[in-house]
């Protein structure tokens, strides 16, 4: 396909605590790593997209340029909740597809180590007079008084709702999903946590929001990831080695949630993911059965279950059976989150949507070492940001 876009270089930093590095150090390390991996330099890059969700509006892209090369190219600083990294990547892909340039750099970075509970909103201070404020005319904070805004609680309900609709889900089932991801990360040296956890340890850990205990929640940590994308025409001019290692972006999709009853009561992470998956399979001309591995957005164990279904890895309503069959384990028919996922690899928010692409590319290039999924040809990476935004990318090994 002549208008194909390729990942030329891609990297992620070690996820975990980086007390000695700030956000820009981490971002620059990932960006330089991606350029080196692709065998190109900053002067080759025509567009830069960067994301740092907790950056408070700082011009992350420009700050990165000041570390690695101010070449005057357009910079897009993007923010799209937990889909920020995928949005940065998608932005560079769109620029290349539009013919604006032939090479782009996408960077996602976050420093989250030690961050506590992430709530959707915070409670207001209750004063000595009941005074209606805000869109609901509320006289006190509604988070915790009218349901919960906390992420663990929100995604707990999403998993429980699925269990209620189709049956078969239980605290133990959700904990087993987490057990899988914590087992997978033992093979990933870049993961924040690389220790296996037993089912008993997971179920006996601190309860955050039933049925999610602490190890069933995504791990707050520091990290960055970056990717260099290139047009098909430009790739043809590069070396045989660059062409061999390039990974084809067979599909790049970003969706938001269409209106549905209840979606403004409890975020609906299902429909926009299904929509993104459907578009991605159509763009790529592959089906779920063709996927050799999947990295999906397991921000909580309860979320991973629903996305088996949303990404159509199983028949509708069949996610519990899919998991119980062993399919998503690394030796199963559709390995899911062999990196350890967000629960064990970690979730430095804006880095996640590029780091999951790196994981897929690593396998498609046959460079994943002990955790290599043998013969991997096609993989899918999925992220979701509440609000909501969903990014799905399907990647294919180079035929060169």
């Amino acid at each position: 396909m002549s208008d194909a876009v390729w990942i030329l270089g891609i990297t992620m930093t070690k996820f975990g605590k980086h007390a000695d590095k700030d956000v820009i150090d981490l971002a620059a390390e990932a960006a330089l790593g991606a350029l080196a991996d692709g065998g190109v330099s900053m002067t080759d890059i025509g567009v830069l997209a960067a994301g740092n969700l907790m950056g408070g509006g700082a011009p992350t892209g420009q700050l990165i340029q000041k570390q690695i090369g101010q070449t005057g190219i357009p910079v897009f600083n993007v923010s799209n909740a937990c889909a920020t990294g995928a949005t940065a990547l998608r932005t560079t892909i769109m620029a290349i597809k539009a013919g604006e340039c032939d090479m782009g750099l996408a960077v996602g970075v976050e420093k989250l180590a030690g961050a506590g509970l992430l709530a959707g909103g915070s409670a207001k201070t209750d004063g000595n007079h009941w005074t209606p404020r805000g869109r609901y005319g509320s006289v006190a904070g509604v988070d915790g008084r009218i349901g919960t805004d906390t992420m663990p609680g929100t995604f707990a309900q999403i998993g429980m709702e699925y269990g209620h609709r189709y049956g078969g889900a239980s605290f133990e089932l959700f904990a087993r999903i987490s057990e899988k991801n914590h087992a997978h990360s033992t093979l990933n040296p870049l993961a924040a946590y690389t220790k296996a956890m037993s089912l008993e340890q997971i179920m006996g850990d601190v309860m955050i929001a039933y049925p999610n205990t602490r190890p069933m929640c995504s791990a707050n940590c520091d990290g960055a990831a970056a990717a260099v994308v290139v047009s098909d025409a430009k790739l043809k001019t590069l070396s045989a080695e660059q062409r061999r290692r390039a990974v084809k972006v067979a599909a790049s999709v970003l969706t938001s949630d269409p209106w549905e009853e209840a979606c403004q009561i409890l975020p609906n992470v299902n429909t926009l993911t299904r929509n993104a998956a459907r578009q991605a399979y159509e763009q790529a001309g592959v089906g779920p059965e063709d996927l050799d591995l999947v990295e999906l957005h397991d921000c909580f164990a309860t979320a991973e279950l629903v996305h088996y279904d949303n990404l159509m890895l199983c028949p509708e309503g069949g996610a519990v059976d899919f998991f119980n069959s062993g399919a998503p384990w690394r030796d199963g028919s559709t390995p899911v989150n062999v990196s350890g996922g967000l629960q064990s690899k970690g979730h430095p928010i804006a880095a996640t949507g590029i780091a999951n692409i790196w994981e897929i590319c690593h396998h498609l290039r046959g460079e994943a070492g002990p955790r290599q999924i043998e013969g991997a040809r096609v993989g899918l990476a999925h992220v979701i940001g509440l609000g909501s935004a969903c990014g799905v990318h399907i990647l294919e090994r180079s035929a060169a």
Partner: protein, 130 residues
């Protein structure tokens, strides 16, 4: 009786406390906050619609870590009130997975949030097992 004020403006107090939604006159979509236009069909006219006070618990979680000032653990959930989804705490129930059951019938209940310096009592709502 002292003066009362609801926790949120979509809680109607009185003899029969109930929730009131903004309903799109064109497509019937319901919202608990004000809308410039309907998120479902983009029409711009709304009317007030009373929401059923009986419902069924469709999803829940038991929150153990929450914002400062919120007593934990508490049960947060989604209640299906005759086709209108409502976000609420589930109250007057043990906050344990043994006591809370998906699909259980629940009904609206109110409680006091306290009285302010002017003697005004704030009233909150939740759903309790029916």
């Amino acid at each position: 009786m002292s003066a009362q004020i609801p926790l949120v403006d979509y809680l109607a107090l009185g003899d029969r406390p109930h929730l009131v939604a903004h309903e799109c006159t064109a497509c019937g979509a319901r919202f608990f906050d004000r809308r410039n236009a309907c998120a479902s069909c983009s029409a711009t006219e709304f009317r007030d619609a009373d929401v059923a006070t009986d419902g069924e618990l469709r999803a829940y979680t038991i929150v153990s870590f929450a914002a400062p000032g919120i007593p934990v653990p508490f049960v947060a959930g989604v209640v299906d009130c005759a086709g209108t989804s409502v976000r609420s705490n589930i109250i007057n129930v043990d906050p344990t997975p043994e006591a809370v059951r998906l699909g259980m019938p629940v009904r609206l209940a109110t409680y006091s949030l306290g009285i302010d310096d002017d003697g005004v009592e704030a009233i909150g709502f939740g759903f309790e097992p029916a």
